[in-house]
Symmetry: C2
Subunit: 163 residues, 2 copies
């Protein structure tokens, strides 16, 4: 497939494709997530869904940590958390180690609803990604992780260079 010429042009094409594909991906995914979120709870805002899954994966955390991991403004996180608390999907308890902070974690209801949707999502992915075998899927997920880590490093370098 590769011509092994390995010149600038090949790379430019690849990166341009990357950029364009990612753009359509973003739009498509936004819709998918909106749907997924509404499955968890009819009134759940899509963006808050990410916070929910993040806490599902990482366990109890303070809001600042979530904001840092998700690279979100702490104000945005604060609002989403409030929203999630209103819906009863999250529990908040004071951090015993720091009087300012509070620890966020899934509520029982939140965990239940999320795992119910986990199952549904697996079915959806199975249906949609049926043509991908396990290795391909794992490879793609791995590439994505690597790409993310690359971007993260680039960001860290940039942040460090900028006082």
């Amino acid at each position: 497939m590769s011509t092994r010429t390995s010149d600038r042009t090949d790379r430019t094409t690849a990166t341009r494709t990357l950029e364009r594909e990612l753009s359509t991906l973003i739009r498509r995914l936004k819709r998918v997530v909106a749907e997924r979120a509404s499955e968890v709870h009819p009134d759940l805002q899509p963006a808050a869904y990410w916070i929910l899954t993040h806490l599902e994966h990482h366990g109890s955390q303070r809001a600042a940590t979530v904001a840092d991991h998700l690279e979100l403004d702490k104000g945005a996180v604060s609002r989403h958390v409030q929203h999630l608390l209103d819906l009863g999907l999250l529990d908040r308890s004071p951090d015993p180690d720091d009087g300012r902070a509070t620890l966020l974690s899934l509520s029982e209801d939140g965990a239940r609803r999320l795992s119910a949707v986990d199952e549904h999502r697996r079915q959806w992915f199975d249906e949609v990604l049926g043509s991908w075998d396990d290795d391909e899927l794992a490879g793609f997920a791995g590439d994505l992780s690597r790409y993310n880590r690359t971007l993260e490093q680039a960001r860290a370098v940039r942040d460090a260079a900028r006082p």
Copy 2:
């Protein structure tokens, strides 16, 4: 790497990773694009940048076609196009085949500015993705394309089923 067990669990993990990685990717990319857009023109809105690159890639098109390809509301496209016209990055000419429609294309200035940034972007990707060799990059871009096409099909099926 793969255990060849090929059971449900593997797949669930992969899809969950996929979902999470994609979410952080979206947020990161939003920043990158915002930066790229402002390089093209200080007042260029990030979302309009996609329309610009789309026209760069596909040539002259009417707004409705752009909206269809980018899966955007025609109202949104209309606004972005107006914005791009104001900035002088786009040209608009009446469609000779249809009195209602207008054909959009890059203006000379738009093309020049975009290609200037193309070069800059290549440098950026080279710097950031330096650890990826050509085949890996091409493979990743290919996977993304495939994933997009998969999502597109899923959407088409869904739309068809829904009157």
